[in-house]
């Protein structure tokens, strides 16, 4: 790279923890955000609690840790703060292949478009990531992502909003 990017995001998996851990730890030092699933976060940190795991992984380098929990959504950690994006309860999950990558594409796509790398904006980014991933799993492979249009994306975003809004007065 000739210029330092505004944000570098890394996705990895347990396979590299098993067979290339020193190299993995080197690249983790150099990124701003890491996205991994819950079991991988436990393996990388040696901690069962995802809160403790996220703190240990932040100490390895990335200021932001996104822990993907499949059908249970995703957690975003930054310093002592945490934000949760649900996964939409779907009638049909056909094939989870690519869901994590689709999440990462939605996350980085939104950040790139919005030019904002704040924690507040990353909250929206993980919602966009979850939203797009919810489509990916509805058909085999990339089939659903190929037929998907922007209106469907916006319509489901509304479902995401209503899924998490409540009116308790505090």
């Amino acid at each position: 790279m000739t210029e330092k990017p505004k944000l570098v995001v890394l996705d990895t998996m347990n396979f590299w923890m098993d067979c290339a851990l020193p190299e993995l730890l080197e690249v983790i030092k150099r990124v701003d955000v890491i996205t991994i699933n819950d079991e991988e976060a436990r393996q990388l940190s040696g901690e069962y609690s995802l809160v403790k795991a996220a703190a240990i992984i932040q100490a390895m380098g990335p200021q932001y840790v996104v822990i993907k929990k499949g059908e249970h959504g995703a957690l975003l950690f930054h310093n002592k703060e945490v934000f949760f994006a649900p996964a939409l309860p779907l009638e049909e999950v056909f094939d989870p292949t690519g869901a994590g990558d689709t999440f990462a594409g939605g996350f980085t796509g939104y950040i790139t478009q919005s030019e904002n790398v704040s924690f507040e904006n990353m909250k929206n980014a993980i919602i966009y990531g979850s939203n797009l991933a919810s489509f990916c799993v509805e058909k085999f492979g990339t089939e659903r992502m190929q037929s998907l249009d922007k209106e469907e994306v916006v319509s489901r975003l509304k479902q995401f909003k209503s899924l998490t809004q409540f009116d308790i007065e505090l």
Partner: protein, 136 residues
Amino acid sequence: MNKLLIVGTVAFDAIETPFGKTDKILGGAGTYIGLSAAFFNLQSAIVSVVGDDFPQEYLDLLTTRNIDISGLEVVKGGKTFFWSGRYHNDLNSRDTLDTQLNVLADFQPKVPENYKNADVVMLGNLHPLVQSGVLD
């Protein structure tokens, strides 16, 4: 428009779930990241490698989504990375049935000149040395 640089596999997958199975179909982290990011207002490029067994229609699919594939190397006489897996009933766990690295084994990522100033870099699942190489 802002630029997103994507590094990740472009591959063939063969998948079995409790609901059915597929032959070799389009897959790979870079592919899924690219198709997903295409829903935003941005410029994107995928840095990856495939063999010359990779169908033109899949390359066309990426370009129709305005994804720059000038950094997607096609190795003459090479075979595309292939992964095959079977999901368990909970769909959360899976067994890998076959992994053929093929052209991925010697992959040296080449970032297109006009993406060396990308605003955001997404390092998809790959060997950590390949991921590091892109940042140098």
